[in-house]
């Protein structure tokens, strides 16, 4: 302890703990690989119109069921649509649904978890029992019922995934909030006249941000899986709009599977690679923000 000025460290304001986490992340090879792959996928999706040679929904019956060629890189489907174009455009939908649904579930979960943790008592009971109930329903079935009632659409898909996935983030944030609740600085903020909303914004959210980022990333992967599942079942993205799920659905037939692998391999690989990349990034983030939890610590 000294009262003299400490040597000033470089780095932007507020950046020190974060830059440390960033350094840990960049040293994590699977995470960096995941990040690079994900960046490529995102770029492909964003730049889709500039990349593909054929519109994804353009039917060309004369060119139907062709194998991969210089003209159709991944061949064409039964309606003569370019499989490469459809795969790339489907990525847009999947990423959009994944990000929006994950964001929705994380925001919902953060608010509810913070309220439950901060207020405790009946608010906690109500919210956490609601979380238990939501988690005890199989998400796929719940979403199927919701989509069945309201009719399938991307909006319903996002809402349904968000509504069924929030308990994960809520539990994380509640835990963080409870550990903060009895800290003196929260009491100090109350004594300074802060109300609950202020406490959540100023003290709870920054403290919960690292674990929530991790939860959110993993929620993206989960949401993409759910989106493809629902689309595969015909309750998600509706044809003719392409989605990895409904592309797989279109290839659902033994002859096609045996004779035209270009119909189902590209969307299948796209799903697996995307989800894997997102999960690697999520794990890397978790290890970076909380090194104590790192699985198989190296270095």
């Amino acid at each position: 302890m000294t009262t003299t000025s400490l040597p000033r460290r470089s780095g932007p304001r507020g950046g020190r703990p974060r830059s440390r986490a960033l350094r840990r992340f960049t040293r994590n090879r699977p995470a960096m690989a995941g990040a690079v792959v994900l960046a490529v996928i995102v770029l492909l999706a964003v730049l889709a119109p500039l990349i593909v040679a054929h519109p994804p929904d353009a039917v060309n019956l004369e060119a139907a069921r062709q194998g991969p060629s210089a003209r159709y890189w991944l061949g064409t489907d039964t309606s003569g649509r370019d499989v490469f174009a459809r795969t790339v455009y489907a990525g847009r939908v999947s990423l959009l649904v994944g990000l929006l649904a994950a964001a929705l579930s994380v925001v919902l979960g953060t608010v509810l978890g913070a309220v439950a943790g901060l207020f405790g008592r009946w608010a906690d009971t109500v919210i956490m029992r609601a979380a238990d109930i939501v988690m005890s329903f199989p998400a796929v079935v719940t979403i199927m019922v919701l989509a069945g009632i309201v009719g399938p659409s991307v909006t319903i898909l996002v809402l349904a995934i968000g509504v069924t996935q929030w308990p994960v983030a809520a539990r994380v944030v509640r835990g963080v909030t409870m550990s903060l609740r009895d800290r003196e600085y929260l009491q100090a903020a109350r004594i300074s006249g802060a109300r609950a909303l202020w406490l959540i914004r100023t003290h709870v959210v920054p403290a919960a941000l690292p674990p929530v980022t991790v939860t959110g990333t993993l929620a993206v992967a989960q949401a993409i899986m759910l989106e493809t599942t629902m689309s595969f079942l015909g309750l998600g993205v509706q044809p003719p709009q392409a989605s990895w799920g409904n592309m797989l659905n279109d290839a659902q037939n033994l002859t096609l599977i045996q004779t035209m692998p270009w119909l189902w391999i590209p969307p299948g690989i796209a799903i697996a690679v995307t989800v894997l990349a997102v999960n690697f990034v999520g794990d890397g983030l978790r290890d970076a923000v909380d090194p104590r939890q790192a699985a198989g610590v190296r270095r």
Binding site: T3, R13, R16, R121, Y185, S192, G193, T202, P206, A207
Partner: protein, 338 residues
């Protein structure tokens, strides 16, 4: 303004536990005049901090204020809606904590936290202006190089500097009353004096009344105008600081004073008050201090002594306060006990 700034009357606070209800504060009353420093003295668990939290309206379940009044500028704070209460907290009544390390958020810069105190009560202040004000406040409490310091985190501050930052937060909105809860206890002895001097200066310059919660009679002697001695949730004695030190009229106060090390004494061993404070779940009948009191007799075991005026501005809750007319008479009281 006429009348006291803060008037506490018959304040009782209870905590519901599994073993039954614990009365942590029992019928406490005192006044704080504008600009005055009131020392609230007692051992751990005597109800000092709970009293302070009651004043701020921050007793949370399972605790509750069971009775009494807390008047601030003549208004009973217990009747105020939460909204009004929030306006008073931090702006009219501010608090300095015991341990500045735990009272500061470790992941926010010092500047952000002082700015938070400013912006909570003046939403019109821009973030930039609040930050500038934070630097001004740090300068005012004697933190060198405040322009750089606002960008640092609590762990980059020394204990004394952190407590200065806490004081800066407390005075940010020019409060009329500062509650300092053991403000020097967590600090190195060498910086305790500096922080006390700072509190004195801040108190003089802002004209804020101060409730100084402490178990350290040395701090009381240095800072306080008047003293309330608490034991087991009750007020034992209440007088101005000179009277407390020169003519205590309660055996507990006397015990506290005798257990202070003295420069002019040659005692090989410091006298201590025998025993431990009573468990609050099962307080003794009669006077709460009687199990440890050298003067205790049968009446003390059965009859609870009320807080009575023994002289102008001097009250004691002892049946036998007459026997403690001064230090000399105190010794006589001990003999009569034997």
């Amino acid at each position: 303004m006429t009348g006291p700034l803060l008037r506490v009357r018959d304040l009782s606070v209870e905590f519901a536990g599994e073993e039954g209800t614990v009365r942590a504060v029992d019928g406490v009353g005192f006044d704080v005049a504008p600009g005055e420093v009131l020392g609230l003295v007692g051992e751990s668990g005597s109800g000092k901090s709970v009293t302070a939290m009651s004043v701020l309206g921050l007793i949370r379940p399972p605790g509750r204020i069971a009775g009494g009044r807390v008047e601030f500028r003549g208004t009973d704070l217990r009747t105020l809606p939460e909204r009004e209460m929030r306006r008073i907290r931090g702006a009219e009544i501010a608090m300095v904590f015991q341990d500045p390390m735990t009272a500061l958020n470790p992941v926010l810069t010092i500047g952000a936290q002082i700015a938070e105190a400013v912006r909570l009560h003046d939403r019109k202040v821009s973030a930039r202006a609040a930050r500038a004000r934070a630097a001004d406040l740090l300068r005012a409490v004697g933190v060198p190089d405040p322009g750089q310091r606002v960008r640092q985190y609590p762990h980059e501050f020394s204990g004394g500097m952190r407590q200065r930052a806490m004081v800066a937060m407390a005075i940010a909105n020019g409060p009329a009353l500062i509650i300092a809860d053991e403000p020097t206890t967590a600090l190195d002895v060498t910086v305790q004096a500096q922080v006390l001097a700072l509190l004195s200066t801040a108190q003089r310059e802002t004209g804020a009344a101060t409730v100084l919660i402490t178990h350290d009679l040395g701090v009381v002697a240095e800072m306080a105008d008047r003293v309330v001695v608490m034991y087991a949730g009750r007020v034992m004695e209440h007088a101005d600081v000179r009277t407390i030190f020169d003519r205590p009229r309660h055996p507990y106060t006397r015990g506290l004073l005798e257990s202070l090390p003295r420069l002019d004494g040659d005692a090989a061993e410091l006298p201590a008050i025998p025993g431990t404070p009573p468990g609050m779940a099962d307080p003794p009948d009669g006077c709460p201090f009687h199990p440890r009191c050298p003067m205790a007799r049968d009446r003390c075991r059965t009859e609870r002594p009320p807080l009575r005026d023994v002289a102008a501005g001097h009250a004691s809750a002892c049946h036998f306060h007459e026997e403690l007319g001064g230090r000399g008479a105190a010794a006589a009281g001990e003999e009569s006990h034997a």
